[in-house]
């Protein structure tokens, strides 16, 4: 009987079940994010050798590159959740999509800030209208548009569905950001890490980067679970299971 997976997913999409599930998993995600993040920072800032060309300045990639990946990854998750929310009208998908938006916006913001710090050292300029920088900035505006549209509605679910539609329209930008370094040959350097074929980067530099990438993923999960838990409580505030939790909290 292999149909326990869809059954389990179906059950998970009910707010009280997801609330408990997220509550159980969240401490683990926080712990993993912290441990992996510290290991990656130690590996990147202490163990990894200086770059032959960029010296010690290149070390900002251990923050910059994982955040840049996450800025696209979170948008993709938001897009998928938006699609589910619009097609199947699942409340949890709406909450996940809208909770992802501020996290993704923060990752995009960090990417832009660290990128411009790096640019100041490497290219001698804080900002240039290069294809990847510009498309990343557009990504930030997309996130902000989704957040702004969501908050401009009085009815939260209606706001969530409307903002989810905007998120879906904006998903055309994700491949543009991802491939911009390959399509336009401007200032930003090309990709050095490849899933297929050998990477053009030393192993001692790659492992902290990949570890940091895992750490940001776990951070995203932890943050998403925290946000969805709060949002679910607010959204379902009249329901029995929320009242039950409130009473239990009060007794403690």
């Amino acid at each position: 009987m292999a149909n326990w997976i869809p059954l389990w997913l179906h059950k998970l999409s009910s707010p009280p079940v997801f609330y408990r599930f997220a509550g159980r998993l969240r401490p683990w995600a926080i712990a993993l994010a912290l441990i992996l993040g510290l290991v990656a920072l130690y590996g990147g800032l202490v163990l990894a050798p200086p770059d032959y060309q960029q010296g010690d300045d290149y070390r900002i990639i251990f923050i910059h590159v994982p955040c840049a990946w996450m800025s696209l990854f979170v948008y993709a998750i938001m897009g998928i959740a938006s699609f589910i929310a619009l097609v199947w009208r699942i409340k949890l998908a709406e909450v996940v999509a809208m909770a992802s938006a501020p996290i993704g916006a923060s990752f995009t913001f960090i990417t832009l800030v660290t990128g411009s710090l790096w640019g100041e050292r490497m290219w001698g300029t804080w900002w240039t209208w290069d294809a990847r920088l510009t498309s990343e900035l557009v990504l930030l505006f997309l996130y902000l548009g989704v957040i702004g549209l969501y908050h401009s509605f009085e009815d939260r679910r209606q706001g969530a569905r409307t903002a989810a539609f905007l998120a879906l329209i904006g998903i055309v930008n994700v491949p543009i950001v991802h491939f911009s370094v390959n399509w336009w040959n401007t200032l930003h350097q090309g990709s050095t890490i490849r899933l297929l074929g050998p990477s053009t980067m030393a192993g001692s530099m790659i492992w902290p980067l990949l570890t940091m990438m895992a750490a940001t993923k776990f951070y995203y999960i932890a943050s998403l679970f925290g946000r969805t838990r709060t949002d679910l409580l607010a959204l379902e505030s009249g329901k029995d299971w929320v009242r039950q939790i409130a009473e239990d909290e009060g007794r403690r």
Partner: protein
């Protein structure tokens, strides 16, 4: 025999178009505002940057494009506003005719009422900034393709904000990411024409984007309106 509910589809389209154009014409003052706005913004550039001919000539194409875009953004908010307030949009949603087609007609009427006057004064705006005369046909062609694109994209976003009270600044934030490619290709055509290079490729991209949008945007607009007004 034709489906009686679908008969007179063309008639319905014409009715929506004629109604919106009549409404726009009755409020000619509102129609003139984007044009005045564009004139004022354009005249600010020589004050801000200094009146050197060479500098103005170099930025003229881009300034006219951005000014027209901003003027259209200003008028966008009003696209469905009065129809939502008096409930005629809900009537349109209940009508047997396909909503996407009716909305397409409304967007067309809005484009005719706001963008066409802007395109008409575009040579004047370009002249104020000393854009070389041979580039003006390219400018008009680029505007002729870029402004309906903006109207269509804007229509979808206006539909999304239909359920909210105030949406002016939000519209700007939402439209900006979507209209970046439009601006890049239109400005690319102008820059190429100004340097005497072939400019047909970016115009062709604009045309392709227009063809795609004219098919998809009314459908997206109808879907967005159904989501935003469903309560």
């Amino acid at each position: 025999m034709a489906d009686p509910r679908r008969s007179g589809l063309g008639h319905a389209c014409m009715a929506v178009l004629r109604r919106d154009l009549t409404l726009a014409w009755r409020q000619r003052g509102d129609m003139a505002l984007p044009v005045l706005y564009a004139l004022i913004v354009t005249s600010l550039f020589p004050f801000a940057l200094g009146p050197e001919d060479a500098l103005l000539r170099r930025i003229a194409g881009g300034v006219v494009l951005v000014t027209v875009l901003l003027a259209m953004l200003l008028a966008l908010d009003a696209m469905f506003r009065s129809d939502i307030e008096d409930g005629s949009l809900e009537q349109l949603m209940l009508a047997p005719q396909p909503l996407a087609l009716m909305l397409g007609m409304k967007i067309l009427a809005h484009w005719l009422a706001t963008a066409v006057p802007l395109i008409v004064i575009a040579p004047l705006l370009a002249g104020m900034l000393h854009l070389p005369t041979p580039v003006i046909p390219v400018l008009l062609l680029a505007l002729l393709l870029a402004t309906p694109l903006l109207s269509l994209l804007g229509g979808v976003l206006v539909a999304l904000t239909a359920g909210t009270r105030r949406s002016g600044m939000l519209l700007a934030l939402m439209l900006l990411p979507l209209c970046v490619p439009v601006v890049i290709f239109a400005a690319g055509a102008l820059a190429a024409a100004q340097e005497g290079l072939p400019w047909i490729a970016p115009i062709a991209w604009l045309g392709a984007a227009f063809a795609l949008t004219v098919v998809l945007a009314p459908l997206a607009c109808a879907a967005a309106l159904r989501i935003a007004l469903d309560s």
